[in-house]
Symmetry: C2
């Protein structure tokens, strides 16, 4: 007998038919003799509909009240799912975030789990109940409802699996697992059987959007084995765990990110501390800077280029204009027509020449590289967004054609 945590996203419980599909998955695991805890998100577009309702009243409503409103989404889905499981004749109980003991900090709308007090969950499992838990939501030290931001249900599920020492945390979704590239754009993309936490983290950060980033960090921290799989197909998914590597694969995947813009500040003083001040200015306004490229100083001036997400471009420019203005000859340039292509894989730690394989693929496809950034398990390049699909396929072919 195992203890299994399952997590179902909003599209998996969007209507009665989907809810019964999920109820069948849960009760099947229970019938096989397992203890089952299922963490559930709000139905389909519920969250967006609730936000719209709030905006009709007050588009600057407090985050506290937004959380009171938004947390009704999962409350509805756990009740309906429990009713479906009752209909199938199984013992079940639903628990809200505060009942399940998800203690969070006080950052409404983006709260982090500080502790899971799972006494109630344990008590219900002891009674042989299937336990349905509302994801995404918790309670803070004031006794108020908090929500964890988009994707928070993944974190709720992994945290539950961690504190309960579950054997596995199965994240059911609308894809069959983690792929070597987006299968809609790279027809030869392959589903990975296994991927490491670090690789998954890089992929999540890079916008692969299969698993919420915080949840992967937490899974890594508490060594929770996570499986990403489809709620509609009865096939094995991708297992995320420590230090997993398939011998013949040098990298785990190729991803792209179009939500990126390049800013160049040219002719700035070539003096110590200037770049530091510039980036701390941006950081203080919550603007994330990604790839940074600094020209070698040609006294008295130098150039700095860096990327930000496209929706933060405008804010970043405003801050820079205020800061750069007094300096003669310096200029701010920007380019939205860029995209980031990245390869991720722990194989880079042990194999040399992986970055150059990527550059070779791009060269063969006649694609110009604007900027390069590397980490221990990732190489990212900035290219023109017109080239992004060509680049994605060229790189994927270079690394995966041998195992096709």
């Amino acid at each position: 007998m195992s203890l299994i945590v399952q997590k179902f996203g909003g599209s998996s419980v969007s209507d009665a038919e989907h809810i019964f599909n999920v109820a069948n998955i849960i009760t099947k695991a229970y019938s096989q003799g397992n203890d089952v805890i299922a963490v559930v998100s709000a139905q389909g577009d519920t969250t967006d509909e609730l936000i719209e309702k709030a905006n009709e009243i007050n588009s600057h409503a407090s985050k506290r009240e937004m959380d009171v409103l938004l947390s009704t989404g999962e409350q509805i889905s756990i009740a309906l799912l429990s009713m479906a499981i009752e209909k199938l004749g199984f013992p079940v109980v639903s628990l809200l975030g505060w009942q399940a003991g998800f203690n969070t900090d006080t950052d409404y709308g983006n709260a982090r789990i500080e502790k899971v007090c799972a006494d109630r969950i344990r008590k219900e499992l002891d009674k042989k109940n299937i336990v349905i838990v509302a994801g995404f939501q918790g309670i803070n030290k004031y006794g108020d409802i908090t929500t964890m931001g988009r994707g928070g249900s993944d974190t709720s599920a992994v945290a539950t699996a961690a504190v309960m020492h579950a054997d596995v945390c199965k994240i059911y979704t609308d894809v069959e697992g983690v792929y070597t590239a987006d299968p809609r754009r790279v027809p030869s993309a392959k589903k990975l059987d296994v991927i490491s936490y670090d690789e998954m983290l890089e992929l999540a950060t890079l916008g692969a959007q299969v698993l919420n980033n915080r949840s992967v960090e937490m899974a890594k921290k508490y060594n929770v084995e996570v499986e990403v799989l489809s709620s509609m197909k009865n096939t094995p998914g991708t297992i995320v765990k420590e230090a997993a590597r398939l011998e013949k694969m040098l990298i785990s995947g190729v991803t792209t990110d179009n939500n990126v813009a390049r800013i160049s500040v040219i002719n700035i003083p070539d003096k110590p501390g200037f770049a530091f001040k510039l980036f701390s200015k941006l950081a203080s306004k919550d603007i994330n800077v990604d790839i940074i490229l600094q020209s070698i100083g040609r006294n008295p001036t130098k150039d700095i280029s860096f990327t930000v997400t496209e929706n933060q471009l405008e804010d970043a420019i405003k801050i820079l204009e205020k800061y750069i203005e007094p300096i003669d000859n310096s200029k701010i340039l920007y380019d939205k027509n860029v995209a980031k292509v990245s390869i991720v894989g722990t194989g880079m730690e042990t194999h040399v020449g992986i970055a150059s394989m990527m550059f070779e693929a791009l060269f063969e496809a006649q694609i110009n590289i604007h900027m390069i950034s590397t980490s221990e398990i990732k190489v990212s390049v900035l290219i023109s967004s017109d080239d992004v699909d060509t680049a994605l396929n060229a790189i994927h072919k270079k690394f995966f054609s041998s195992i096709e």
Copy 2:
């Protein structure tokens, strides 16, 4: 400075416009220097929509899960109302049933408040916050959400007023107060300035549907002054309090109830205990028997007639058929084409002849009386439902024409 509890029903918060109307009423009272606690129901038809959602999944869902589902209704309305009050620039906080400390018994779907632990409400009032409380819902000893059944928000409001020693509990509704008869059917019906708890109780029981019965019982028990008034018109309503009586009015009102059916069991043995056993059989199946008429025994048999609510008629007949079957010659008859007309007033306690004034009015209108039932402050008659509007107007005219 006073402490005011206000209660707003579902139609008062049905959309953004109504919500801002309510927000204006609340903030006006707050601006006048009062502490304000507002108890709110679910928006418009939310509860019915949620029930429909549940029925799609499981029409026999557990009451516990129904309560998890239904309690989202008020959660949405308190959040939206708080957002509207924030928009108007006032300090506000919303509290769910469990946060406001509504401790109930474990009777899901029809829970009774056992205790209000109002520490959190007090703390928020001390911080000069307007406090918006979700009506209808509470928490039981297991830490589970309970709901109080239809009209439960009235009870939440009165309980809050009782425990907080509020100066008044204002129940805002879509009528302007309590009337001497239904103004849609009796054009000359008058709004009462004052009515006693007992009269209000009889009216509530008789289906006047202005105030929930439990809430009036609680108001009486804790001597809470309640005002029933319109949320759309800025006029005084009807005050419900102890032993209030307008000199010139003999009765407070006339009500009718069409949801009634008469059952007659004829030719039953004229032996002690038979009627007792028959009614205890019905009571054990939760069938409420109202007016009872027993013929004088003509040894060896007698007849018993009584009324039940129309929707319990079928169940009652089934139980009776099972019970009566073995007895020779006895027969069960029923009539759905009946209605109950009642007059209510504490004046009856001190004035004689009030019942006969009612009978006189019915005689003058040529209406046949099937059955009669009286209490200290109420007289009810059962008549043909075809006559009910004629009877209502005739009786109202008899008692109130002098003060028209």
